[in-house]
Amino acid sequence: MKNMNEAIHRLLDGDVSAGDKDAIIKKIQDDPVLRKEFDDLGTAVELLEREGRMQPPLAFTASVMGKLPRRADPLPARLKLFFFGSRVLRWNMAAALGIALLTVVTALLMMRQITHIGTDPAFPSGEQAAMVRLTFVAPDARNVAVAGNFNKWSTNSNVMTRENGTWTITLPLKPGVYTYMFIVDNEQWVTDPHAETYRDDGFGYQNAVLKVTI
């Protein structure tokens, strides 16, 4: 019986020759005890084989890959990845609004700066200006100012300073042609005697003409 029991296991293992197999099967069929033993063992084996493989959770591979230790890449590979590796920008609404606000504020500040430069009286159009020095000798005058089309003929915008009887002023003027006169003691309009040329002002006087180039 013990030998037959081993024979049944060898039969289940497929570990018998064709001739032995027929003989073992015949003995099993002829003996009810052996037949039951064979059937019960066969049932156990069939149950095992029927169950087969099981499937792990869907995220199994991703979970394993996420836990693997990272190996350090060689320096050239890291540099290549740094410069040429594609990146994914992760953003949220708060960050996007913050960046948009920063962009708007920067743009406004730049526009304000440009406007400021454009309205500077010394540089009305942003062009370079020449510093023009005017002099007028009048030792007895109490004050002298210069009025011209560069200051809309204002009599007190550009007051000259006295230096040993000579009155001077330095004006930033962009390139162009200007006419002007000196006003002595707030009332007397005097033509610059050292002007290069003169132009009739329509009231019987001569305006000095100044040509500015850079």
Partner: protein, 186 residues
């Protein structure tokens, strides 16, 4: 495994050994079911089996640089899974989640009556497996669930084929008796 698949696997392992971590995902995908099934049947608990199977893949990745292709990757991986299962069984009392195992077992198309009977059989089978000594259990799992030949099992477990046959025969006898006691029929 086909020769084509073996060549492919050889290349994948080479790539892993050269530092291409992404290539390892192919191996994990290919053998996750093997590792998980062996762990589940050995431990009788799905959550623990999932952890053990994952740990096994992580250990295998760490040891892959020493892999010399003297055995199949699947055999090497199975031996790692079984070692971890043995460590786990030694360190703590096994928790038997038979119901859970029954829920996740491989689905076969059966009618509701057959499904119910199959469910009961699956529960009884896992309980019976849990009752086997671990060395009998692993021999039975590899022989009749993984359907490996004795030579491959011998390579995995590192025991002689003669000793394996003894374990398998005794394991089958015990399993049969346990199933009869639980009233299982196919």
């Amino acid at each position: 495994m086909s020769a084509l698949l073996q060549n492919d696997e050889h290349d994948i392992i080479k790539r892993c050994q050269e530092g291409d971590g992404d290539a390892y995902a192919v191996l994990v995908d290919r053998y996750q079911s093997l590792a998980y099934t062996v762990a589940c049947r050995m431990l009788g608990d799905a959550d623990t089996a999932n952890d053990i199977a994952q740990e096994s893949f992580i250990s295998a990745y760490g040891g892959l640089k020493h892999f010399r292709f003297s055995s199949k990757f699947s055999s090497w991986l199975t031996s790692i899974v079984l070692n971890k299962c043995r460590d786990h069984l030694r360190s703590r009392q096994p928790t038997v989640g038979v119901d859970e195992i029954a829920e996740i077992r491989k689905s076969k198309r059966r009618n509701p009556e057959q499904e119910a009977m199959a469910g009961e059989s699956a529960d009884a089978l896992q309980k019976a497996l849990n009752s086997l000594p671990p060395d009998y259990r692993e021999a039975i799992i590899l022989k009749h669930i993984e359907e490996l030949d004795y030579q491959t099992i011998s390579d995995i477990l590192g025991v002689s084929i003669a000793a394996l046959k003894v374990r398998t025969h005794r394991g089958r006898e015990m399993l049969k008796d346990l199933l009869i006691r639980s009233g299982v029929t196919l």
